[in-house]
Symmetry: C2
Subunit: 456 residues, 2 copies
């Protein structure tokens, strides 16, 4: 490690990163952009999101996805981040234990739609953003999430500020101020999972990250040691400064980007990825057949201890709460219902599924040995059925479909895009994004993203 | 206590508070408004704050203090809160251990300048905001501040949201959502003390409180148990839920308002109130005379343990950092310099004062018995001088000038207003504010607050 405070060193690494250094991660970055836009477009199609559109529109010229109207940069970031996360259908990174793209891309697009930036710098800024979000997650430690913080939001503010600061080529001094201003806004609660405030928290993180940079650009000063010391972020929100903190936060910068290492998890289903193992297992049990749902007397869902922390609803009242319910996801799958949006909406859970969930319980087994290929590492999901005839059925999932160990094919990703976007957009977007790192001006892409389509 | 969760009960208390119930605290509320406006007007006169004015102006029609231009409600709250706290010259409440008015009044004015509200509802909303900020401070406990959180910012977001929600007469359901959205934004670092990010944090708290209410008004949902449980705010940021939490948070609501109890501390000097005891002692020693500064060999500043926590700079480089330095304040006072703005600006500390501060050290003495009249309770400040001739001088302050136990006279408060505002404003404001609780429409006051005065 170099000398000096952690904050100063991290900011120097960002400022000094060349655009081409980030190139190895551009391909996955482009995939992330396409997937974010898929999820956001589908979010836009939910009429509840129109309320926020009316709130933000007219405040400036920055991009509002799928709208000819504009907003201020901060409110553009708020709105597009909200859209991207509205259905919990956007990508996840396992190290972050959260959703990088729905914070970083809205933050970057809000500025890229107002000022001339190259596609290469845009992608490099995203790579740096994910990198910082993941390294901060590592140094904060698991306790940060466990205590109740929402990593997407808390880490997203800082990563968003650094990504936008890089995009706008802030100098060292101003980027340090941006870090101090962003650090003053680290917040976000897991308690809000299963309400519209969860996607809002992603949008707010993007908004705060952008605002921190724009205020720092004005010359407003802040602490240059936001991460350091016993009053700094790492102490206040995490495990404090340890012997290996500098190495984890700063070591081997740019040698192997997080995006090339743990990658992104693209979702096939619109619910929390922590329920994916259970979802795949339940679906496969149903498809395998040999029993009818009425014959199921009891269902046991097995997790490693803490593996279900994100799944805060055991008896969800609505499909929306069901996005964070292992019981609901299992009930949907075991009854042969589809993991599609209509079953995860704000509508009340049917009386039938409510009764079915009464038969489901969670168990924790630290004697189960996680697969070496498990994603996230150490995770698994087992669905065990006890039938009225005394029979037992069981299925286990270690690497759910969509996770980096069991990725979507290009065809499946395109199908997701088609299922989310109007045909006109689905046709144009992949080609435009494919060449992103070679274009000096992003206005063509931004123009496509503004396309207003009334029916979807 | 009633039944149900803490969050639900608190929100019900707010919704059900009648405007006239808050009346006993209106007089001190009006004083708080006048003092906030004094501090903000002086902040406006600092040319550095023009940067933020340029940033926010043009985004809407809401009040920007001393400007004909307007901003969106959120950015109005940001700007006016920044102005009010820019010089650390605004009021303090000892229970809150922070600055209520510079968050609450900007938040309330941002909305009151867009929609018709009565002066009485406006003042009642302020009384409720202070009440919530203080009760939250009590249940969070001292550890919240000690760990490094900035109470003005963290508690201000929640109190600001509740105050604005009350002003706009949100129903129970929407005010609960506003609380959940605000809770997701609780942040603010003491680490930023001594930089422009400290006043910014007050403004950001106001901005976030206003935004939380406006988003909840749209119908966006959030957790209704934001304060409750082991993942809720009181656990995450404070001491958790204890046997007496409900009583402290909810008990005797409206029986004796915090404003009538601990009141407001109006500052005579533009620096952190935690340095006031030292300031008064040093000034009195200088005035008493009998030594010249060159004869001071050593200075010991005595505090109760932890009483100097806010004074984070021991060797400040600038007058701005000196606002949070017991050493700097003592050095200014002992050398007969004045506690006026020119000595607490962004200019570097003189070489003379830097050398003088080398002779100053802090000591903690828990054997000293705090005065019964001490403000805040348990606090004192002793300045002890060791002279080259072997002599020792000592002076102790328990209730500094401006604190509720040693209040400014009406004349002194008016002098502060005159020193801060243009004569035209200083003449009109007191009369306008005096009748505030009897006016059905605040547009007259808002119009005065927009008065643009080029030179000051």
């Amino acid at each position: 490690m170099g000398k000096g405070k952690l904050t100063e060193q991290l900011v120097s690494l960002v400022v000094e990163t060349g655009e081409t250094e980030a190139k190895p991660a551009f391909a996955i970055g482009r995939q992330g952009l396409l997937d974010f836009l898929s999820a956001a477009w589908k979010g836009k199609a939910q009429r509840e999101t129109d309320r926020l559109l009316r709130y933000v529109s007219g405040s400036g010229q920055s991009l509002l996805l799928a709208s000819e109207q504009g907003a201020s940069a901060e409110l553009s970031a708020l709105y597009n981040g909200y859209l991207g996360h509205y259905l919990d259908y956007d990508d996840v990174n396992q190290t972050i234990r959260g959703h990088p793209s729905t914070v970083l891309y809205p933050a970057l697009l809000s500025v890229a739609s107002l000022r001339p930036v190259s596609g290469r710098r845009f992608l490099a800024a995203y790579v740096i953003g994910v990198e910082i979000m993941a390294r901060l997650a590592r140094v904060m430690g698991k306790a940060h999430y466990r205590r109740g913080f929402h990593n997407t939001a808390t880490l997203g503010v800082l990563a968003g500020a650094m990504a936008v600061g890089y995009l706008l080529q802030l100098d060292n001094e101003k980027l340090l101020n941006a870090m101090g201003i962003a650090a003053a806004q680290v917040s976000g609660l897991r308690l809000n999972f299963g309400t519209e405030c969860k996607p809002l928290q992603a949008g707010i993180a993007a908004q705060k990250g952008v605002q921190a940079v724009l205020l720092a650009e004005l010359g407003i000063t802040a602490s240059h040691t936001a991460l350091d010391g016993d009053k700094g972020l790492l102490s206040l929100y995490g495990n404090g400064i340890r012997a290996d903190t500098a190495e984890i936060l700063l070591g081997n910068w740019g040698k192997k980007w997080e995006l090339c290492n743990t990658g992104l998890w693209f979702k096939l289903y619109p619910f929390c990825s922590a329920a994916s193992h259970i979802a795949d297992s339940a679906k496969q049990l149903y498809q395998r057949g040999g029993f009818s749902p009425e014959e199921i007397q009891k269902v046991a869902l097995f997790f490693p201890p803490g593996g279900d922390a994100a799944l805060i609803h055991r008896r969800p009242a609505t499909g929306e709460e069901g996005r964070f319910s292992a019981e609901y996801v299992a009930a949907v799958g075991l009854n042969g219902l589809s993991y599609t949006l209509e079953n995860f909406s704000s509508k009340p859970v049917s009386a039938y599924l409510q009764q079915f969930m009464e038969r489901i319980e969670r168990r924790y087994d630290d004697a189960v040995i996680p697969a070496k290929t498990a994603l996230p590492p150490g995770r698994f999901g087992i669905v065990q059925l006890y039938l009225t005839n005394g029979g037992i059925r069981e299925n286990r999932t270690d690497t759910p479909k969509g996770s980096p160990g069991n990725p979507l094919t290009a065809e499946e990703q395109y199908q997701k895009l088609q299922a989310c976007c109007p045909a006109e957009i689905a046709e144009k977007l992949p080609d435009e994004i494919k060449v992103l790192d070679n274009i000096s001006d992003m206005s063509g892409l931004i123009q496509i993203l503004k396309t207003e389509i009334s029916a979807n």
